[in-house]
């Protein structure tokens, strides 16, 4: 294996879980998430000779998010909310509840809001960088984040009531 390929494999092994999870947060679907992460890594590998000394992870993340945002533009897709979580023996109830809450809460957001929330609060990127990666203004990031958080706040009590009724 060429040295560049070995570097890529090392990078991909380290980055794939986080990219896949980010894609899951954006789509709510494990299969779509894996497809999207795979697509991002394919494009990253295709450009590897030019980016591997720079910010390969940033390149892969930008590719992933823009691929998913573009994918939502046509056709518009529903955000699945009936995802069956992976079952693990320990803490299954907590895990299920957390995942269900997360999926429902993110599903209440528009694709753009979801992308901004995930870049800001999952990848912990500053607003200016989120704006650059999504090709929008910082003002749009601020206002969209604010709107998204407002939705989260208003959705949470409603969901807590639903949980309590279960």
């Amino acid at each position: 294996m060429a040295r560049g390929d070995a570097d890529f494999v090392e990078f991909a092994r380290a980055a794939s879980a986080r990219l896949t999870h980010a894609a899951f947060l954006m789509t709510g679907d494990h299969h779509q998430a894996e497809d999207a992460a795979q697509t991002a890594l394919v494009r990253t590998y295709a450009s590897w000779s030019r980016i591997h000394d720079d910010d390969a992870y940033g390149y892969a993340r930008r590719t992933l998010v823009n691929h998913l945002v573009d994918g939502w533009r046509r056709p518009m897709r529903e955000y699945p909310t009936d995802e069956v979580p992976e079952q693990r023996r320990e803490d299954v109830a907590d895990d299920v509840a957390t995942r269900r809450w997360l999926i429902a809460i993110l599903g209440a957001l528009s694709p753009r809001e979801r992308a901004i929330v995930i870049l800001r609060y999952y990848f912990d990127l500053p607003e200016a960088q989120v704006a650059r990666e999504l090709s929008v203004s910082v003002g749009t990031v601020k206002s969209t984040s604010s709107r998204a958080l407002e939705k989260l706040r208003s959705a949470t009590p409603r969901m807590a009531d639903e949980e309590a009724r279960r």
């Binding site: 890529f8 986080r18 394919v42 609060y121």
Partner: protein, 253 residues
Amino acid sequence: MSELERLRHAMRATERPDAVLDLASVMREGRRLRTRRRVAGAGAATLATGLAAVVVVVAVGASGPGAPAPTERPPPVAVAPPSVGVSPMAEKSLKSTPPPTVRNDEPLPKPLGQLVDSGVRHGTERRVYYFVPVSVPGEPKVSIGLAAGRQAPGGPLTTDILVNDVEGSDRSAGFHQIGYDEGSAPAPVPTFGYFVGPAKRIIGTVDGRQVDARVARWSFDKQVVIFWFDPVHLTPGERLDGIVARDGGGRRL
């Protein structure tokens, strides 16, 4: 725990560190993509050369003897490469072609049919849309591209963005490439594109808001509907989340 902290915690707590992707397949696809990009690069160079050769004649014909000298700003030529991913559907419509490739030595191809006046003004210039001939190697059914330009009083035309299909047919029914402002033109370019079919209305969606495009039929082929979004209602460069076309009866096409 605040809602934001709970959200952050939940996003991390649900990570699956054991997620494994097929890296052999990733690298195989990546190599194919790299090859396609190289081929596309060669194709783009061929196209640019072709346009340059054609336009020398066109520029004379368009300007005419004694006409004002070509504008200082060179007309960029955007040549979209082939779809570069494993999800062609996501690549197809709402994504603009890549930022224009600016060529300093390239005159303007002669517009096909009449210019469409958008009603948008940039100082004394008017924003216009028009089709120009293009040729993409190996794609005989792609012969037109839609340009956004500015026309000064007296006639000189400056192209800001040109978008064109890079595969299939440029007259296939439905939406084609969408042109977005890339910040490279001196004046913002309102989002534009074309639809083939009996559309009376084109409606874009952004942030859950619906925005009606303005539409005009192409003088050369009435099946082709040129549309653009008023910059007052859709900020140039802002990406659409969705777009639909409706016929005179309000039916979605």
